[in-house]
């Protein structure tokens, strides 16, 4: 077991006297804080709540699908379950997940800054998220929404009798939280880097957050205005998207996916950044092809804006439009593939340890391989016609979003947990939960690929009475219960460790990166004095070659 004691050769670790946590204890000192680290913790608590809320809806979905008939709940209720599962998970968990928690905490520290460029705006963006979330919660409590998280018109704008407006306002508002976070990151990365921290010395985590922020800033306003138009149409009954009054429902789909496809990369890219950090730290190697990985992030962000039409191959858009979107979609596959190959190559001749974060990283690569390659199926138009809107798609994006983003998020959370809290998590339990999640996840979602290819449409409360379909659904539900247990474990041992875990040294993993050069947890100002960077990223060097004496390796 790798733990603090080993790295520090028996030197007793004591927490730093003055850190961002023990600075003040009042509720007010948290709710009015401008410290990016405290705001990150606020986000962490918020999105954890919504992760489990969204998870609760998922449990209901899976229970209903145990049997072919809609017997547990009415179809109407089922529709609300999957809609609220989607809305909560996408807008209140996945989009803020890595950037708003780990990103918020680490972006300034990693570049050697004292805070984000706009601390007040950072706090504001958390409040905006909370206000938006309140609207969505109101919609949930008041009776639910049943439009699907995609809010397709004209169903959402004219037909649905559920609390669409509240949910739409909620989504509209949370969008601004995301915009402001992205704006803050871009400005911070541009203007706040420590002396010597050149662009090519930035950790890949920063590159991926930079790419993510670009999407947040460019894409989110479009969804905001789209949702605004749906709301106006719903309230005033003027047709923008309703064909009964001359509107065009397909325009909604274009505007929606113009954001929502890049939004997929808002969810995924930060996770990829986390994985780059984990792979480097736990193989003690510099990332193979650093620049390729860095520019792959930017490439994904840019191409991501050009492929939205691949969600609409069956919508009746023009044949040639579909062809172009299919063609461009394959371009996005390439940077993703480059990343996977480079991560693999990084392991070559490394010094690989099997700590929990590395297990999560391994899980991420496995899931992302499946999620990514099934994307190839969906980009091939002729094949997508068949599997579009089936469980094949459901399985695909869960492999990417849950298998990818959530694994990266949990991996990153474990990796930086000592930095966030100053305590070590219990390694044994953590490895166990990683294993349970890996098994449960595959059992939940792999059968859905088969179901989807057999033709089971998504968003079905009831499905044909076919023993094979039911068998696959039962597998999926069984897997989901294992997965749920896997997610509950960290919920227990991580808070436990905050009180009972071992004190963490500044650099428990022997990793590079500025965040490991400051104490755990860091002081409010992040560093005692502004660091001056003189080394390349991930500069792990054997002792005899160590040129620059710095704190990246434990001294003995």
């Amino acid at each position: 077991m790798i733990d603090a004691a080993r790295i520090d050769d028996g030197v007793a670790v004591v927490p730093p006297k003055d850190n961002y946590i023990n600075r003040a204890y009042s509720i007010k000192s948290w709710l009015l804080t401008k410290d990016h680290k405290r705001i990150a913790i606020l986000y962490l608590i918020t999105i954890t709540f919504f992760f489990f809320l969204g998870g609760a809806f998922a449990v209901m979905i899976r229970l209903e699908l145990l049997t072919p008939h809609s017997d547990l709940v009415q179809p109407e209720t089922y529709n609300k379950f999957f809609t609220m599962h989607g809305v909560v998970m996408v807008f209140l968990f996945l989009i803020p997940s890595v950037p708003a928690t780990l990103g918020n905490f680490l972006v300034p520290i990693m570049i050697g800054a004292k805070d984000l460029a706009f601390p007040k705006i950072n706090l504001l963006s958390w409040y905006i998220l909370v206000v938006g979330a309140a609207f969505i919660l109101y919609a949930v409590v008041a009776g639910g929404v049943d439009t699907g998280w995609t809010f397709y018109t004209p169903y959402s704008s004219t037909y649905s009798n559920s609390y669409v407006m509240a949910a739409a306002i909620g989504v509209f508002i949370t969008g601004f939280s995301s915009i402001l976070t992205g704006l803050n990151f871009i400005v911070t990365i541009h203007t706040m880097r420590a002396p010597g921290m050149t662009w090519y010395r930035l950790p890949l985590f920063i590159w991926s957050h930079y790419a993510t922020s670009l999407i947040m800033v460019l894409g989110t306003p479009v969804i905001a205005v789209t949702i605004l138009l749906v709301g106006l149409e719903r309230v005033f009954r003027v047709g923008i998207f309703d064909p009964a009054i001359g509107g065009d429902p397909i325009l909604f789909q274009h505007l929606f996916w113009f954001y929502s496809h890049p939004a997929v990369y808002i969810m995924l890219l930060p996770g990829m950044g986390v994985i780059s950090e984990l792979i480097a730290a736990f193989s003690r190697k510099n990332i193979f092809g650093y620049k390729f990985v860095a520019f792959a992030s930017l490439g994904i962000a840019i191409y991501g804006f050009l492929v939205w039409g691949h969600h609409m191959f069956t919508s009746g858009q023009s044949i040639y439009g579909s062809l172009i979107f299919s063609f461009l979609s394959y371009f996005v596959a390439i940077p993703s593939a480059i990343k996977v190959f480079n991560w693999t190559a990084t392991l070559y001749r490394g010094s690989i340890s099997y700590d929990t974060p590395m297990l999560y990283a391994l899980g991420f690569i496995g899931f992302f391989l499946i999620g990514g390659t099934t994307g190839l199926f969906l980009a091939a138009i002729g094949l997508d016609i068949h599997v579009h809107d089936t469980y094949f798609v459901v399985a695909h994006f869960h492999y990417v979003m849950v298998g990818g983003t959530v694994m990266a998020y949990l991996g990153g959370l474990h990796y930086w947990w000592p930095k966030l809290t100053g305590r070590m998590y219990p390694e044994g339990w953590a490895r166990l939960s990683a294993l349970i999640i890996f098994v449960g996840f595959n059992l939940t979602f792999f059968p859905q690929f088969i179901l989807g290819y057999m033709g089971m449409p998504r968003r079905y409360a009831a499905y044909p009475d076919d023993p094979i379909w039911q068998m696959l659904n039962v597998f999926s539900t069984a897997g989901a219960s294992i997965l749920g247990a896997g997610y509950l474990l960290p919920m227990i041992y991580l808070p436990w460790s905050m009180r009972y875990g071992k004190y963490a040294p500044a650099n428990p993993w022997g990793a590079t990166g500025l965040e490991w050069q400051t104490s755990s947890p860091p002081p409010t100002e992040n560093f005692e004095e502004t660091p001056i960077v003189t080394w390349e990223p991930y500069e792990y060097r054997p002792r005899e070659e160590k040129v620059v004496v710095n704190k990246i390796l434990p001294t003995d």
Binding site: K114, V187, H190, L218, P221, F236, R237, L251
Partner: protein, 269 residues
């Protein structure tokens, strides 16, 4: 706010009072502010961009109705507003200039002038909106007593139930009466679409103007208190960027909405 107390001590005593704790120096702070504002304006462009997209698409579908509806807008008022806004941009630019050279009174005067012009714009806009209200040209069911009407023949009976039955309810008497002049109730609904876009876009623009005015008030107070100096005037600069952006949006809106029908695309009336 224990942090604030602590953090300001991070800078040497010679640092400017306006330097926030997490910046190294004024230069960095100014750079961050400017870049932040530019990125914010990019998001604004994307925000309006979605609406422009809807406008372009529906104008392509409904060229005739859009031209006719456009002719119903008051070009004179729109033109006057354009001039007002351009003048306000000038006064704003002058305010920025005086903040750079550090003339406190002139900053205040220019900001107040900008506010007056901005308010004038909104007043004119309000008259235009009221005119539309009088003429029953507010789209949708915002004012149930004044449903949208177009033209003299008065189709679209007031009792018409909005909602999912719109298609079947929108039953013209045109067939029976054999009307030949303007027998197309679709035309009215397509005109309504123009007005919807008109109100959505100009309304959003007016909202930005209101926010801008609020910002100007804050800037004026700060200027009055003598907060700005040649070393520190980035709030005025950033405010200027925002104000110019809002003006530029109008520069696009004016021809697209008001002048569209002037070239007689499809005739109109």
């Amino acid at each position: 706010m224990a942090e604030a107390v602590h953090t300001t001590t991070g800078h040497p005593a010679s640092a400017h009072a306006a330097l926030q704790h997490h910046f190294e120096n004024m230069e960095q702070q100014r750079e961050a502010g400017t870049l932040g504002m530019w990125i914010f304006l990019v998001t604004e462009i994307m925000f309006f961009g979605g609406m422009f997209m809807a406008y372009i698409l529906y104008r392509a579908y409904n060229a005739d109705a859009f031209a006719a509806a456009s002719n119903a807008l008051n070009v004179k008022m729109g033109f006057a507003n354009t001039i007002v806004l351009i003048c306000s941009s000038l006064t704003m630019a002058l305010a920025v200039y005086y903040s750079q050279v550090g003339k406190r009174m002139m900053i205040v005067v220019m900001l107040i002038l900008t506010m007056i012009l901005g308010t004038a714009f909104l007043v004119v806009k309000a008259f235009e909106y009221y005119d539309k209200y009088e003429k029953n040209e507010i789209p949708g069911r915002l004012f149930p007593s004044r449903p949208f009407k177009w033209g003299e023949s008065g189709h679209g009976s007031p009792a018409q139930e909005p909602g999912r039955d719109a298609t079947t309810e929108r039953n013209p008497q045109a067939v029976q009466t054999g009307q030949e002049q303007k027998p197309d109730p679709n035309f009215a609904s397509r005109v309504e679409m123009f007005f919807f876009i008109y109100f959505a876009m100009t309304g959003l623009h007016a909202l930005h103007m209101v926010i801008g005015l609020g910002m100007l008030i804050v800037l004026t107070i700060m200027a009055w208190k003598g907060r700005f100096s040649p070393e520190y005037h980035s709030p005025v600069e950033l405010g200027g960027l925002y104000w110019h952006f809002v003006d530029i949006v109008w520069i696009f809106l004016f021809p697209l909405l008001y002048l569209l029908g002037a070239h007689g695309v499809g005739g109109g009336h």
